[in-house]
């Protein structure tokens, strides 16, 4: 469902972010992108959600050719995916409930559907009583759970998580990873970018390892191994 075909991302001659990257992700998979900071994990994700265009090569998502999408076509495409970021990216002027509801509002779902679904998802991520809190009133782990709730509420085919645990302590980290595993068990494809060795080793799923913009390893049930 996700295909990277000989993708290059070159900012300038001194800064090559991705070099000839090719891989494929099938529906229902849980794939981790491993590698140290600057290896190219985030670049893979920005290309995947169409925030940037590859210098060379093609990126496919289902029937979409992502590198060919125009600014106008991007919103409709992005409704097929849910994205979770290291810095949460919640709307600060909206409370937790509204942040999650927003993902349904943009696709034009009815008010009754929204008032039914949002509390369910809030309960699922364990924030049933925090719907009226604004992001600045929530802890890091809570914010990330709101972000995950927002990413999954419209039942996307894929959840993409870019260092979702980067700002969290080990306790909250395992909480978030368990949540992602739960979502994956429900049938959603998950792409997780992380430099956290513990997280990857505990997952025991497919791992694509990047180093200096190249894929150096792609293993089923992989471990976090550099060099």
């Amino acid at each position: 469902m996700i295909v990277f075909e000989n993708v290059f991302k070159i900012y300038n001659s001194h800064s090559v972010a991705l070099e000839d990257v090719s891989f494929q992700v099938d529906p229902g998979e849980f794939v981790s992108l491993a590698g140290r900071s600057g290896a190219g994990k985030s670049t893979v994700i920005t290309l995947l959600i169409g925030e940037e265009k590859p210098t060379k090569g093609r990126v496919f998502f289902g029937q979409y050719v992502v590198n060919k999408l125009t600014d106008k076509e991007l919103p409709a495409f992005r409704r097929h995916i849910g994205v979770v970021f290291q810095d949460f990216r919640l709307l600060v002027t909206k409370n937790a409930y509204e942040n999650i509801a927003y993902a349904l509002e943009v696709v034009g779902r009815s008010q009754s559907e929204i008032s039914e679904l949002v509390p369910q998802v809030l309960d699922m991520v364990g924030l049933g009583d925090k719907g009226n809190n604004f992001p600045h009133e929530l802890s890091g782990g809570e914010k990330q759970r709101v972000a995950i709730a927002r990413a999954m509420i419209h039942r996307p085919e894929v959840i993409i998580a870019d260092e979702p645990t980067g700002n969290l302590d080990p306790f909250h980290t395992s909480e978030i990873i368990n949540l992602l595993k739960k979502i994956n068990q429900l049938g959603t494809t998950v792409v997780l970018a992380t430099h956290d060795k513990e997280v990857i080793n505990n997952l025991d799923r497919r791992v694509i390892t990047l180093d200096r913009g190249r894929i150096i390893r792609d293993e089923e049930k992989g471990k976090y191994i550099l060099v």
Binding site: D71, P75, R89, L91, T93, S110, H154
Partner: protein, 302 residues
């Protein structure tokens, strides 16, 4: 579609309320800009009145020889009235001229007595001509120099007042033209100040806009609430500016009246309140909404 539109308005109002401080600052700047525009409208009224009062003071008087009959004078008057440059012609017979003269000098014993001693009326019949615009007096004066009329006319006041009339005409023209330029420039400045304020407010929201895009909001859904916010700010600022202007205009109106006779800005303000409100709303809403529309655009990329 209806749900999307109602959500856009809902968020527009909600954001305006929640971004209280930012909204207040934007509205405050808009109020200042709109006060400038009220000031400009009233300035225009004042200059119009001033130039009109100058124009009222300018005229040409034509004095006829005493042997010319009233019919002949009325004929000439009629021919003058048919000219497109002429606004008004008043005939003053020698009897009427004498009356005016007596009235004017009734406190002066010597002159009153001197007139009473005369058997005949020494004053000439005359006509007063007002042109539509001050620069037309030259044309009218030319017309009066025609040889056909020369036999009746004794003198024309234009010749001796020519310099003064021309100077006044220039002043009237310059006041009108200068006033218009000033209005255009200041209105442009006011518009730009508002645009920049809105742009800054939206700049501080650029991350939010990026997030909305990532979540899959269409451009219209991202932009709509900001445009609604801009429109609310503009509408509110229009109302506030009039509320602030009313007492100020009431207070300064008598002072302006002292400068320019016949000018009553408060009366103008009061009688034209609704059209003023209309202009202000139009300016506020168009500038506010358009500024938001343009300012959001650059953050709708990728």
């Amino acid at each position: 579609m209806a749900t999307i539109i109602s959500r856009i308005f809902h968020y527009g109002f909600k954001n305006f309320w929640r971004n209280g401080l930012l909204s207040t600052a934007t509205v405050a700047i808009m109020v200042l800009a709109l006060l400038v525009s009220i000031g400009l409208i009233l300035f225009r009224v004042a200059t119009d009145r001033a130039s009109a009062s100058i124009q009222e003071k300018i005229d040409i008087s034509v004095y006829f020889k005493t042997n010319v009959s009233e019919d002949q004078i009325l004929n000439i008057k009629q021919s003058l009235e048919s000219l497109s440059e002429v606004k008004q012609v008043d005939y003053i017979s020698s009897d009427r001229a004498l009356e005016i003269f007596r009235e004017k000098h009734k406190d002066d014993q010597v002159i009153s007595q001197a007139i009473n001693e005369l058997n005949t009326n020494p004053l000439q019949p005359s006509i007063n001509i007002k042109a539509r615009t001050p620069d037309k007096y030259a044309v009218i004066a030319d017309y009066l120099q025609a040889p056909r009329l020369a036999t009746y006319i004794d003198s024309v006041s234009y010749a001796k007042n020519q310099v003064v009339i021309n100077r006044l005409a220039t002043i009237v023209n310059n006041v009108n033209r200068g006033g218009l330029t000033l209005i255009i420039v200041l209105a442009l400045v006011a518009g730009l100040v508002v645009f920049n304020t809105v742009r800054l407010a939206i700049y501080s929201n650029r991350d939010e806009i990026g997030i909305m895009r990532v979540v899959g909001a269409s451009n219209a859904f991202v932009r709509g609430p900001y445009v609604v916010e801009g429109i609310i700010s503009g509408g509110l600022a229009a109302l506030l500016s009039l509320i602030i202007a009313a007492p100020v205009v009431y207070f300064i109106s008598p002072y302006l009246n002292a400068f320019i006779p016949g000018l009553n800005v408060f009366k103008y303000f009061y009688t034209n309140l609704f059209s003023l409100l209309g202009y202000q709303l139009l300016f506020g809403i168009v500038v506010g909404g358009l500024s938001s529309f343009i300012a959001v655009r650059r953050y709708l990329k990728n």
